[in-house]
Symmetry: C2
Subunit: 228 residues, 2 copies
DNA sequence: GCAAAATGATAGTAACACTATTACATTTGC
DNA sequence: GCAAATGTAATAGTGTTACTATCATTTTGC
């Protein structure tokens, strides 16, 4: 259990925080408080003042952990990618068929998230909502090249790389493995967001999870895998 | 020519502005100035003060046209969708084959934008960059439901609807037409952004435009259209 | 039990979003 | 051609936010 925690945490780039939030109970309260508050009021309205009030601390203290709210969001997003990477790992280990492994990975990254209960300071369901609504703001900004140089997006890249490698196992000549995988990941977020707020941009199916269904079908057709 | 201009402008919801920027030269200067400045410094650093300095006006004057920078970005995004809708219309009119029409639409929405020169106050290339980098911020926020009620996303929905209808012409039983189209639109933006800033998340091909190529292939495989 | 580190309390600065007011210039209706 | 309407500019001001600095107090490691 502890290994998993340090495994996920170790993938988080040290430059994203000023002081590692996992080294203190206050740090963990910052994380859980942020996840709750930001999922409630959104990134734009979220401030360190509101957060410090919510967790009974002070603004200045939070600035000791994170330079600004952008990096705090980046931290949470990195954590999410590492967690997802681990989830994909568990869902593919000991499976021989690359087709089946890829399907499991696609389900893992497109299915609705449920509570994990392994990390008491992380509410995965709310974190998933934050990632769906806010995560593009982490990289779709002028800071992206600097943050990329600092290695902030490594866990995301590793996740895409791992899935792309399975794609290449299925078809070594396939030209767009990374493109396909990142389209599925980002697309799944978009579709979940549209389903909730802009339903005319998507197709919702009351029974079953049409989002996972759609992306599995899309990838299978693209790679000409027989639909089971 | 003028008809096209009013056609595109008429699709822009009146609630998004306080005073129609197309009714004065200053209004048009606001639009062109915003497109230049925002594509240079990004949405976060963009302020009405900087804009007014750039176009030799004052902050207060700009507030007479737009309530805030969020609505100004929304205006530009709406304009972009209307323009793209018009482009798709021109590229599909008088073509019988729905397969060919769909292919043209996908090219239109995924290809790199070139200068149109029909609108002297709009630099389509820079506007496209803004849409790629910033447009998700228009709807991925807490205001989304209110703005949606006010009809801000109608031109986007119409674009998706028009393309989805072609998909249904090809396969009336296809279950996810809107999902497929909105995945292509958003996906194309993501891939262009990744290609420039996070190349490890995509696959770039020096010759040719692999992004259009990828999405055409994806849709054809999904709808089981024979690759030409 | 003491030194070092973490936290809290408080204050302050600069920038920004946004509003209000007034004055003056330009256009338009008739 | 003149009054009314509209457009533009200049200025000031408010409240909020991002962020820093300082110092007192508490907690922790050894």
């Amino acid at each position: 259990m502890l290994e998993i925690q340090s495994d996920i945490a170790s993938k988080i780039n040290v430059k994203v925080y000023k002081k590692n939030p996992l080294t203190s109970t206050l740090g963990k309260r910052i994380l859980s408080g942020t996840i709750y508050l930001m999922s409630e009021i959104g990134f734009e309205d979220f401030t360190f003042k509101k957060l410090s009030d919510a967790i009974n601390s002070t603004e200045a203290t939070i600035y000791r952990y994170f330079e600004n709210k952008h990096n705090l969001l980046t931290y949470l997003t990195m954590w999410y990618w590492s967690w997802l990477q681990h989830k994909c790992f568990l869902k593919t280990i000991n499976i021989k068929s690359p087709q089946k492994r890829l399907e499991n990975v696609i389900v893992a990254i497109t299915e609705p998230v449920t509570l994990d209960n392994q990390f008491d300071y992380i509410d995965e369901v709310r974190l998933n909502q934050i990632v769906i609504t806010e995560s593009t703001k982490v990289y779709r900004c002028k800071k992206v090249d600097k943050d990329n140089k600092d290695g902030f997006f490594l866990s995301y890249k590793e996740l895409v790389e791992a899935a792309a490698e399975i794609v290449l196992e299925i078809d070594a000549k396939y030209a767009f493995p990374h493109m396909l995988v990142s389209t599925v990941i980002e697309g799944a977020h978009h579709q979940r967001f549209f389903a909730e707020h802009l339903p005319r941009l998507t197709n919702i199916n009351k029974e079953g999870d049409s989002i996972s269904e759609f992306f599995i079908q899309l990838v299978k057709n693209e790679l000409k895998i027989n639909i089971s």
